[in-house]
């Protein structure tokens, strides 16, 4: 491994830097706050000849994903970036990209969905497309965003599935942090060359992509896709293992923070996990047996592994930065509960659900302390609301 370069970068700069090193064949993208910078910086790389990428400045996100699908089906390493309304506009094409098994990689900067219109962070955009067949990787900070982008290329091409790497809008995307950048040579060697098996530009073997699949074949093809997303779990672990061995930063399906001996635990994704770590440290120094589980991979959902890591807990709080609008709770809480339901008997049944941070509402240390406090009381048998809305005026 070469010497790494330690710099100060925002999340958007970190993701654009990873894209420069990946040097994809085609990038097709459309601007939207707070993801705009990723492609804007990248367009600068194209203009300066720092990459060999063909940049397609499309007229909408729908066309961005459509052009990405064209490029990826034609055999190219293909990337894009978007956020919120852009992701929503792409939704139709996201399902198609996954169904066609195309390894497109996207920087997805989380922003609340309209309406009301808002530009700040929550996870409603990513959650809206959680059933689209894309692998979804959440990042806690700039470093993870950068590392996840490099790994995403490898995962996508091996799994033959598209991958979105998320950051929290503004909090990570515009927050300046310490970033360790790999040498270009190391990054290039890690991502390697892409050799598609079947592709449009191969005239030796002409293929029809996107055929009409009726009652006699659709199910079999979907069944294969279901298997592919299941199999991607191991691919994600393998790629993370190789990344860790080479560059010393360890990744898995999720991160366990101070879970040894923990009795009460918060499950949270993205930058909030970083805030929660500070709270956990404080509580631990006071003898409170607090821990944190931070899912990194939301799709495929690491059900058994998460349930295993939550074994023996006295109370669990799941923090969702979006609501499911199903008169129940957030998407992460629902999935965690489903995982616990199928876990061996005796797993924790005290699960509190917290909806927080919608539209960029700040989540402070005190808010998280409050959650751990609820957990302490709940673990001692005190009744607590099943769903709470943290930091909202009502």
């Amino acid at each position: 491994m070469d010497k790494t370069n330690i710099v100060a970068r925002t999340g958007n700069e970190a993701m654009a830097e990873a894209m420069r090193q990946i040097n994809p064949d085609v990038v097709a993208a459309y601007p939207i706050t707070p993801a705009t910078e990723v492609v804007q910086i990248f367009a600068g790389y194209v203009a300066d000849g720092l990459v060999k990428t063909e940049f397609v400045p499309v007229e909408s996100e729908h066309s961005a994903m459509s052009a990405c699908i064209g490029s990826a089906a034609a055999g190219g390493r293909t990337m894009t970036g978007t956020s919120s309304q852009g992701l929503a506009l792409m939704a139709e094409m996201l399902y198609i990209a996954a169904g066609l098994r195309l390894p497109i990689v996207m920087a997805d900067v989380n922003r609340a969905l309209s309406s009301p219109i808002n530009i700040h962070c929550d996870h409603s955009d990513t959650m809206m497309v959680k059933e689209s067949g894309w692998i979804q990787i959440f990042s806690e900070n700039c470093q993870e965003a950068y590392d996840n982008m490099l790994q995403a290329i490898r995962i996508a091409e091996k799994a033959k599935l598209p991958v979105m790497v998320t950051t929290d809008g503004f909090i990570i995307s515009h927050g300046m942090e310490r970033l360790e950048i790999l040498s270009d040579a190391d990054a290039k060697a890690f991502v390697g060359e892409y050799k598609p098996e079947y592709y449009l530009l191969n005239f030796e073997k002409p293929i029809t992509v996107g055929a009409l699949d009726l009652t006699d074949y659709y199910f079999e093809h979907k069944r294969q896709q279901i298997e592919a997303i299941k199999d991607s779990k191991q691919i994600i672990l393998d790629v993370a293992g190789e990344f860790g061995a080479k560059f010393g930063r360890e990744y898995g399906l999720f991160e366990k923070y101070k879970m040894d001996g923990a009795e009460i635990v918060i499950v949270a994704m993205g930058s909030t996990a970083g805030t929660a770590k500070v709270v956990v440290d404080g509580l631990r120094s006071k003898g409170v047996k607090a821990g944190l589980v931070k899912p990194r991979i939301f799709r495929p959902f690491p059900k058994e592994e998460l349930a295993e890591s939550l074994k023996g807990m006295k109370a669990i709080a799941v923090m969702d930065r979006s609501d499911s609008m199903n008169a129940q709770e957030g998407p992460l809480a629902l999935e965690i509960k489903a995982a616990l339901y199928d876990a061996p008997a005796g797993s924790c049944r005290t699960v509190l659900s917290y909806i927080y941070g919608l539209g960029g509402r700040e989540i402070k240390l005190e808010d998280i302390e409050l959650v751990y406090n609820d957990l302490s009381e709940a673990s001692k048998g005190k009744a607590k609301p099943k769903v709470s809305y943290l930091g909202v005026r009502e």
């Binding site: 085609v26 397609v56 909408s60 005239f203 029809t208 055929a211």
Partner: protein
Amino acid sequence: MANLKDLSKQKALFTGGHRGCAGCGAAIVARQVLMAAGPNTVVANATGCLEVVSTIFPYTAWNIPFVHSAFENAAASISGVEALHKSWVRQGKYDKKVNFIAFGGDGGTYDIGLQSLSGAMERGHNILYVCYNNEAYMNTGVQRSGATPKGADTTTAPVGKIKKGKEQFRKDLTEIMAAHRIPYVAQSVVGNWRDLTSKVEKALAIEGPKFINVFQPCRLGWAYDPEMTCEIGRLSVETCVWPLYEVLNGQYKVTKPKEKKPVVEWIKLQGRFRHLLKPENKPLLDDIQAATDKNWEDLLRKESLTPQVKTPELKPS
């Protein structure tokens, strides 16, 4: 330019055995366009009759690389394929010359795909977009589109006790494309293979974005007997309902019919206009004839205005 005998001996790049209706004009468009384009062609197709009848898994009628992803995005899709080609050629990874052709129905082109088409044309990709224009959403059961002519009976603008079919005139997409100032825009028709294949050849010899709007009789939606497809196509030209013309680097060139026939000659062959032949609907018929005449005169005026203008040779972008 190949003659009919040569063309008939070529390996079919769009094969028979697809599930199109007997006498389907869309299949004729695909077949003749590919005859002119040859095997080094990638096709992107919008959802619609052509895609549905030609790619029912595990079969395909396409003997060349083909991609379909959705309804409104054939232009964006082909622009992605073309972008990759450009990228690979620049990187020295690929050297084959390739034609990039998108096919979209009138619904996928005039309506839901107009934004995608406009964007791709403005960006200057080296692509040919072929609209096979059967003047309605046929695949979903003959609904009106922006290309449906006034007075036509469709399932979403039906003829009823008080309504007489579509109330609006169709929009002029060919002129919208010409307004993009792309190097080549043309109208062609099913029923004149020479016109279509030569326009495709001409278009593909030009670098940059090209657009051909091919008028395509549809036996189901237009309600006529299947053997009439080509004849109705030719009549649409002879009545000036669908003039054959091209706009090459801004210069109009119109192929004039020997004798301009009344529109009713064309209308009376089609079930979708049956109600127009009733005496009480004569004013509507007159209206349609008047609009056809005006469009024709406008077109001739454009032609007469442009030859003198020496437009600079457009460079591919």
